[in-house]
């Protein structure tokens, strides 16, 4: 009973704050403060939840006190706690970035309430222990993200939003059809209850149901061959929004895959997880090859999301405790690094007025501070030791070798090499090369004048770089937490017992 506030407060606070923001529609300053305070409180709650989960205890809350298979259960285990923490952190630090990046027209169209509703949906997805409830949270999250992607009078944004909305609607409907199949064969939608009951039904039908979830979550988390909507839409909104959805929303899909394919569909690992393994290989390769062909800062980064999702799914597909620990570590590392790269792309565009690689150059000479922030994140993404990406890749490679999957390890390392190549491409083009002659005059002469006017935009980057460095040189605490989480995921009895109250 006593720990339920760790679930209730992070979940309800964004919704209440969003409602109050809507009531203060005319007063942007009030909205900004409400957003700041609500997200800050949520970070504090998430840290407490993280510390609580570090003890290995799973909190299960039955809403309305309806017992487990009948009511909606909200669960906070290790994986939920980690994801909730990352979600709360990103929404908090983005508040520093908004002022320099989002124009007044967007702010006045309800930007802050939408962000809070987005957080509400994201955190709900991480907490819920019921499949149909997960669908509802997904829709809450998608609805807010639809509006955020389309918010503004930009033509490209509307076009990106059409693709984003259509494909996500189809994915949601497939998810719903999957729930229908699961309910039809097992008679429950509670995940813990399903986990036991799915073993009593015909394994063929259970596999059919699992494919529905694979396809719908695969679309949402941008797996090969379902990822084409992502590079066509994620780069269109302003960077503060792009960074949030790039860092977080695809990871909600990965979270759902991790949850469903460790807790429920483990009856035929040789089939489902083998498919996942091949998908992860193609995702890694096709994403990174797509990135190499691009010449826009944001599009390169968008394609890299696809490629990096492959690594996380590889950890899930190998399905050993070490591999899943690697995947969890990789998710945390990737949320931090990818968000930061988008934020830095926004800073560079603020300075130079463009995202085109060919119109950029000389950032290192005039703005070494920005260059250092980029270098640490970019080379961490590529997995250069001793940065955090290296530990994630190292764990995954080790797990792959231990299960004798040499080819997947080879593909993962090769994709890492290509990642390095395209990061070096950005690095030389944007940071080292001379400013091209046809480039427009930069908005700021040097880094001091930039920092004087827009220091707030660099605060989130600094925080994220600091976290990258902590994960690089002191990965032990996170690795321990990831190992604990992997132990919970590979032995679902703890989860089931916590939910069903045995």
């Amino acid at each position: 009973m006593p720990d339920y506030y760790l679930i209730i407060i992070p979940l309800l606070l964004p919704m209440l704050a969003a409602t109050v923001c809507i009531l203060c529609w005319q007063y942007l300053k009030v909205q900004r403060w409400i957003y700041f305070l609500a997200t800050l409180t949520n970070v504090v709650m998430a840290v407490q939840l993280l510390l609580h989960s570090n003890t290995g205890e799973i909190i299960a809350m039955q809403s309305g006190n309806w017992q487990a298979p009948f009511g909606i259960t909200l669960v906070a285990d290790g994986l939920s706690a980690i994801m909730v923490f990352m979600g709360c952190l990103l929404f908090f630090i983005i508040s520093f970035y908004v002022k320099g990046n989002i124009n007044q027209a967007r702010l006045k169209s309800g930007f802050y309430p939408l962000l809070l509703f987005l957080q509400f949906g994201v955190l709900g997805s991480f907490f819920t222990g019921d499949l149909f409830n997960l669908y509802v949270w997904f829709e809450v999250m998608l609805m807010a993200s639809f509006v955020l992607v389309a918010l503004g009078k930009d033509k490209a944004q509307l076009e990106g939003a059409i693709k984003y909305v259509t494909i996500n609607f189809v994915a949601s409907m497939l998810f719903l059809a999957g729930i229908a199949v699961v309910y039809g064969i097992a008679g429950t939608t509670n995940m813990a209850d399903l986990s036991t009951k799915i073993h009593d039904v015909d394994p063929v039908l259970a596999t059919v149901a699992s494919i529905f979830f694979l396809v719908s979550f695969g679309i949402k988390s941008a797996l090969f061959p379902l990822y084409f909507w992502l590079p066509a839409s994620y780069h269109t909104p302003p960077i503060a929004i792009s960074a949030l959805i790039a860092g977080l929303l695809t990871k909600v899909g990965v979270y759902a895959l991790l949850r469903v394919f460790t807790l429920i569909f483990t009856h035929n690992v040789g089939f489902t997880h083998e498919i996942l393994l091949w998908i992860s290989a193609f995702t890694m390769l096709s994403g990174v090859l797509g990135a190499i062909a691009q010449s826009d800062f944001r599009k390169i980064l968008s394609f890299h999301i696809v490629s990096q999702i492959g690594y996380m799914i590889m950890g899930l597909a190998l399905y050993t405790p070490l591999a899943i620990a690697g995947a969890v570590f990789y998710i945390v590392h990737h949320i931090i690094v990818k968000t930061n790269l988008f934020l830095i792309a926004g800073i560079v565009a603020k300075i130079k007025g463009s995202f085109r690689l060919s119109a950029l150059g000389g950032v290192y000479a005039a703005f070494p501070f920005v260059a250092i922030l980029f270098a640490i994140s970019a080379f961490s993404l590529a997995g250069i030791p001793p940065l955090s990406g290296f530990w994630g890749k190292f764990t995954l490679a080790k797990a792959g070798l231990e299960s004798d999957r040499f080819y997947i390890v080879g593909i993962a390392l090769f994709a890492g090499l290509l990642t390095l190549f395209s990061m070096v491409k950005i690095w030389t083009q944007v940071f080292l090369n001379k400013v091209p002659e046809e480039a427009p005059e930069p908005n700021y002469a040097n880094q001091w004048s930039f920092l004087k006017h827009e220091y707030a935009m660099t605060i989130p980057s600094c925080i994220l770089v600091l976290m990258t460095l902590v994960l690089s040189f002191y990965p032990e605490p996170l690795m321990q937490l990831a190992t604990l989480t992997a132990a919970q995921l590979t032995n679902p009895e703890h989860y089931i017992n916590a939910v069903m109250g045995k």
Binding site: A156, E159, V170, G184, R298, L357
Partner: protein, 123 residues
């Protein structure tokens, strides 16, 4: 009845997929709506069809003579959510039609050429 519903669902799904693959905005919207309807019906049929039975039961009533209320509750939720999504999609496509001045999805390719068109980027 069951067979009839199965066929209806199949027709709805195939019509929806066909319309989603067409190039017109209007057909896209109709496709989205049909896709939602097909899924809702699928949800209904997966919860087992019963004819003329109540979803709520008096105390001590016969549990066999009862329709499963759970899928009905799910469908109600799904219909409401789907309605919201469709409303948003319609407004989005109408706005896009006014701004982009085309109803052909193949012309929606500004996002692919952003690199050359974002010179006037302003924060």
């Amino acid at each position: 009845m069951k067979i009839l519903l199965c066929i209806t669902i199949g027709v709805l799904y195939s019509a929806a997929v066909y319309l989603l693959f067409r190039r017109s905005f209007l057909k896209l919207i109709v496709g989205i709506i049909l896709f939602g309807h097909a899924t809702n019906l699928f949800l209904l049929i997966m919860g087992r069809l019963t004819s003329g039975l109540p979803a709520l039961l008096a105390n001590g009533g016969d549990r066999e003579a009862m329709a499963d209320p759970f899928p009905q509750a799910l469908i109600l939720t799904a219909i409401v959510i789907g309605f919201g999504m469709q409303a948003f999609a319609i407004v989005l496509l109408k706005k896009s039609y006014a701004d982009v001045k085309t109803d052909d999805l193949d012309d929606i390719n500004t996002t692919d050429y952003l690199s050359t068109s974002n010179k006037k980027f302003k924060a």
